[in-house]
């Protein structure tokens, strides 16, 4: 049985789902718990084919609630467990993910966003931002990485495992159906060959000895008797989340300095934004681009700095203002007139459309819906 990756660096041309399966393997994942839903199915398919050769496991459950809770069970037993889902599946994942938040259990879930609400489309959207960041009954103690390309799907899947097992918060990798199904080139690598250390997993149950006498007892709570008891647990948890947030928050920007307009987007849409600002530059228009890589925690300070001197902002997303809500919260003191938006729930956005929109805005028009 082969135990190590068959490469240290390997340029490949694969689908996003295949990239995720390899990245999970590279990140040292032990087991995947999954349930069929398009467009993430192939993560399970690739994983089930890869897993046996590397001594890894797979278990298909009867629904996403079960996939989430079996993942938690695997983690409590000391395994690096993960899952993948989409759309209505992400809705069902909220129950296990909030339990992971409350009990501070590391957990990695890949979301390949599809259209919503409900069954909607199996294809694409950016409508799972609210759900990924704040979907549960709680305070949104999750880390959400929004990826834009296959290299990032690979990089951030590995990172997700490390962040989850370092800080013990659930981590979502937020891709989408386009990234899931499209083929693209990327470099897959063995994290060790790049000097990356993988955070170790630790068992909570099933350890030798007797808890409380021969080894320290672990008490992870999910239920509280009185209000104050809960409050006293939430507040230090929030403090730890904020402290972690400062260390994991990430963003990307280009050409924001001196820009007359900054396009704010995330995920795959930001590729259109990057292409658009290049084309605008050729036309002599100075536009910049800003992209939160972590949707949660949101790079509020970086965004404030990047757009402080910029008179106009264009928020673009394949949803009806889910990113814009976070942006407006971060820039709460800006005049409303400085925002333009392109909201296309469930539909892709091209560079050509953005170039056209920016030209229209410069001519005194607006793109707001």
């Amino acid at each position: 049985m082969q135990r190590t990756l068959p490469f240290s660096e390997n340029r490949v041309f694969v689908t996003g789902n295949e990239a995720v399966a390899w990245a999970a393997l590279a990140a040292g994942a032990d087991i995947m718990f999954g349930y069929p839903i398009t467009p993430q199915n192939e993560i399970m398919h690739y994983w089930t084919r890869l897993a046996p050769a590397y001594g890894k496991k797979f278990l298909q459950t009867e629904d996403e609630l079960s996939a989430g809770f079996t993942t938690i069970g695997g983690v409590l037993a000391g395994r690096k467990a993960f899952s993948a889902t989409a759309g209505p599946g992400t809705v069902l994942f909220q129950e296990p993910v909030t339990m992971a938040e409350m009990m501070r259990i590391p957990m990695v879930v890949i979301i390949q966003q599809r259209g919503g609400p409900s069954t909607a489309t199996v294809i694409y959207s950016q409508q799972e931002v609210n759900l990924a960041a704040f979907g549960g009954n709680g305070e949104g103690w999750r880390v959400v990485y929004s990826t834009a390309n296959h290299q990032e799907l690979y990089d951030y899947t590995i990172k997700a495992f490390n962040v989850a097992w370092t800080y013990r918060f659930p981590v979502f990798v937020l891709g989408d159906g386009y990234q899931a199904k499209m083929r693209e080139s990327l470099v897959m690598y063995d994290p060790a060959s790049r000097g990356m250390e993988l955070a170790p997993a630790e068992a909570v149950v099933g350890k030798p000895g007797r808890p409380g006498s021969s080894r320290p007892a672990v008490h992870l709570r999910n239920a509280f008797s009185v209000e104050e008891e809960l409050y006293e647990s939430i507040m230090p948890g929030e403090e730890e989340f904020r402290s972690m947030a400062r260390r994991v928050v990430e963003h990307d920007e280009e050409g924001t300095r001196g820009a007359e307009l900054v396009i704010i987007s995330h995920g795959v849409v930001s590729r259109a934004a990057v292409a658009a600002i290049k084309r605008l530059k050729e036309k002599g228009i100075k536009a910049g681009y800003f992209r939160p890589v972590t949707i949660r925690p949101f790079p509020e300070e970086a965004l404030q700095r990047a757009v402080a001197l910029c008179p106009r902002l264009l928020v673009v997303e394949s949803a009806l203002g889910q990113l814009a809500r976070l942006v407006k919260e971060a820039l709460f003191n800006r005049p409303v007139e400085s925002f333009d938006t392109i909201f296309r729930p469930g539909v892709g956005i091209t560079a050509e459309e953005l170039v056209e929109a920016v030209i229209k805005i410069r001519q005194g028009g607006t793109t707001c819906v």
Binding site: G34, P36, T38, H45, T48, Q60, P88, L92, T119
Partner: protein, 311 residues
Amino acid sequence: MAVKLSELTKQRELLTGGHRLCAGCGASVAVRQVLHAVPKDTSVVTCCPTGCLEVSTTIYPYNAWRTGFIHSAFENAASTMSGVETAYRALKKKGKVSGDFRFVVFGGDGGTYDIGFQALSGMLERGHRVLYVCYNNEAYMNTGIQRSGATQLGTWTTTSPYGEQSFGKGQNRKDLTAIAAAHNIPYVGQAAVHNWRDTFTKAGKALQAEGAAFLNILAPCHRGWRYPMEKTIEISKMATEVCIWPLYEVENGKWRLTYRVRNKKPVRDYLKMQGRFAHLFRPENEGVIEQLQEFTDRQWESLLERCGEKA
């Protein structure tokens, strides 16, 4: 109830042609056989959870259903229909709705055996007058052939692949028909698409039942089972002949075989017709077929006993 096929062909189809299910798909055959049993002057409301049947019969702006039709989410068709039926009863009581209605759910095995199981059990226990039909093709075909609780031992699927470490699915299927019967509802039947008369008769009884009814209909899928598309009916028939899918009913607690197998054939004869079992005939997977045979025999013997067929 003597019915002639020639008469059925003249009946108006409640699931029309032009839908986009595959040629040779067992699901549409199952649906049409059930809906033919709807009494005249009775209206039908149908509901599908997400699945091949729903996707392929309701591609916007078309709809192949000549019934009131609800697409529900994946886990909750039985709940949705429970709500419809409850409202119907209330309206009927108040005299706000006239005419006779029947309510039929058509769910695949993923939406019935697995994610929809809780909703189904609730519906059966509460005793809504709804007929729940599972068109059972023994895997999640709509999302790309993943194993389900209905998948037989040793089956290849995309999430139970075979190779050095695996011979395919590692577990036996669950016996959902018997589980439904354990709810002590008026009518439960197990049918298959090759025996139209049997399915039609069972659907008729199920629709007449004064309470919840459940039909589990084997509906072979050539894409997932890997056989030539014209063999759907033949394979369904063989499933019954090898007793891996016996035809029976449980009417008011009374178990009865509705088709007596005269010459029980080995399971092997059924398996070798399908690509999803081809790997079981390789030397490295020796013994799996025997395990499946043993499981089938055990289930069959137990069924014979329940049906009073054993001396």
